[in-house]
Symmetry: C2
């Protein structure tokens, strides 16, 4: 029998009813989050011989085995987990996939993962609260600096922006390697975090600009990849910042500009921020450091702590203790301390994960733009 011509019963039924829809969906529930914050994951795979779970709350490289019931549904219950958001995947006989029935898929440069959300009581800043919400504007900008490609730029506008004539300070917020321009809002909930903090008057209303941080294609050979940060810096300076200042009601001057990022974006933020202390008064580095060239590139700034400190209102470094880059980040902080560069170093539980980056953004943004 030719599988191309195999017509399933469901289609015959659908056609006979004049339905345009496929047959009823599998009603399997996954993930199931219980009030005690334990979570059951399920996947229907009757023919599989080994199914495992990996979640962002687990040590990198470990797998949680799942077990099969008589209906061929594999499941495992974990937790209770701390309230936050976590990426997870299933590995079904060696094939790693997002949860087939969970619609909350994390978009990224390559491969997929699912998002699990554990709500807190009262709700965490990254949850949808009953507060005024800002908007997120997605723009498509053709870049002359970068290979003529058209790239998305996500921009958070705080509640009331559309009814105001005020000018707002701007945070440039950069994602990690493998992410997309949507990542800080989709997985990081940056807009909801700002909504919550602004409603509680913990943060001042600000514009948050989230461009695509991959100036060269993700997965490029190391020689090309090494050009990513300098090329991104050129892209940011020649195209993004002028476009932001032309399109939005931004407040001028270094006191109104901050730059922060996670992982790869943290390296970009430390390098771009230090190279442009006349333009940025605040730098945030989440789960990252300055990179191996930092001390060499910024000899002058490190040799002049008085001048550098006078221009850095906020210099915040935060990382999870289980992050493989923890020691490197700590050493970066110690190098800054040796050079008397004023900054704060914060640590929390967790690895190289979105739970840490939501925490970091929630801690960092309240420090910004106080005059």
């Amino acid at each position: 029998m030719n599988a191309r011509k195999l017509l399933l019963l469901a289609v015959v039924v659908a056609a006979s009813r004049g339905l345009a829809q496929p047959p009823p969906l599998d009603t399997l529930v996954s993930p199931e989050v219980r009030p005690d914050r334990s979570v059951t994951f399920r996947v229907r795979a009757p023919k599989a011989t080994l199914v495992t779970l990996f979640g962002a709350w687990m040590p990198l490289g470990t797998q949680e085995p799942m077990s099969k019931d008589a209906d061929g549904i594999w499941s495992v219950t974990v937790g209770p987990l701390a309230p936050n958001g976590y990426l997870y995947t299933f590995t079904v006989d060696g094939v790693t996939v997002a949860d087939p029935v969970n619609p909350d898929v994390k978009l990224r440069q390559r491969t997929s993962a699912s998002l699990l959300e554990i709500p807190a009581t009262p709700p965490a800043p990254w949850e949808v609260r009953d507060v005024p919400h800002g908007s997120v504007e997605v723009n498509w900008l053709k870049s002359k600096v970068l290979d003529s490609s058209t790239r998305q730029v996500f921009v958070y506008l705080p509640p009331g922006y559309d009814r105001s004539t005020a000018r707002y300070p701007v945070l440039y917020l950069l994602h990690g390697s493998g992410d997309v321009a949507a990542s800080w809002t989709q997985a990081g909930k940056a807009n909801l975090i700002l909504d919550s903090l602004i409603a509680e008057k913990k943060a001042v209303p600000m514009i948050v600009v989230m461009p695509l941080g991959h100036a060269v294609p993700f997965g490029s050979a190391p020689a090309l990849q090494a050009k990513n940060t300098p090329l991104f810096e050129e892209y940011l300076y020649k195209e993004i910042i002028p476009w932001v200042d032309a399109r939005y009601r931004t407040a001028p001057g270094r006191e109104n500009h901050a730059i922060a990022g996670l992982s790869m974006g943290g390296g970009q933020s430390s390098n771009i921020g230090f190279a442009h202390l006349d333009d940025f008064s605040a730098i945030g580095i989440f789960s990252s450091s300055g990179g191996p060239e930092f001390a060499n590139r910024f000899k002058e700034q490190l040799a002049d702590p008085k001048g550098t400190n006078a221009r850095l209102n906020v210099f915040w470094i935060g990382i999870g203790r289980q992050d493989a880059g923890y020691e490197r980040s700590k050493q970066f902080s110690e190098m800054l301390t040796r050079n008397q560069i004023r900054h704060t170093f914060h640590e929390t539980g967790g690895g190289h994960v979105w739970a840490v980056w939501r925490w970091a953004l929630s801690e960092f943004t309240p420090l910004l733009f106080h005059r």
Copy 2:
């Protein structure tokens, strides 16, 4: 051995290098689109015994068998395919999943699929062209009408909106069952279609409002599901339209309001449009019809073709010939014709798929708002 404590070599390597990243990604390429528009799909599944492909260009319910090479990579080459966008999935030993390495995942209410894009020469309206681009603003609105939930509303603003003081006509554009508020932009490329048509002066600059069409939860029991369209109508009228008119520079009056949708959204558009001919002058129904209650609900409007036609500047119905709802949509058109209700019925190749809806939007929007 306890798999929870199993530490893979990759992690040891990553940790020894001080890397915060997982090991290098699989370099498998899927889908590979060739210049002749043939496409090779690949999935690495060495332990699987049966792997098949389903794509939106295939008849519903059929499967394309894939074959395994010595490295455990399953592949199949199809096409050439007509330039457009197509959803597809793999079924690996009975588990249906999105392509594990394709980052273009279609977000929906439940389950995932991947998106394949076949470019055209010259580029189709739904591709990223070298034209001025509008923006898409994502809003989070708490609904009082609908269970106090906070819902996304996507709004397309045409190029130049931000630098203008003009008022713009508005198209309310509704998605299908199982979709999310992002669907018309993510899979339908509604913003790129409008960008292209506006640049070519085929369509007038307009605002496009794309709310979430699931007023009751997706997958609700039939009794509750039956309330979806009336509840959505209430939500649209009491909350969305007043909010749109307050937030955006909309042009007033029925001549400046259109409503259109696909599948479930087509049913909503025909019902809401006919119920409010004083508010809407144009209706678009893509791959759908008026539903079984239409003739009964709109007896008055059908009995008064002169009055109804005078208020319907544009009434456009479009569907694919391979759509399971084709006959029903055609019968709907014939019923309208019997009642002398002026409209146009258009058909194209294809089934109940995004390729048809991109075509429909590209045909429908040029007809709107000519005065």
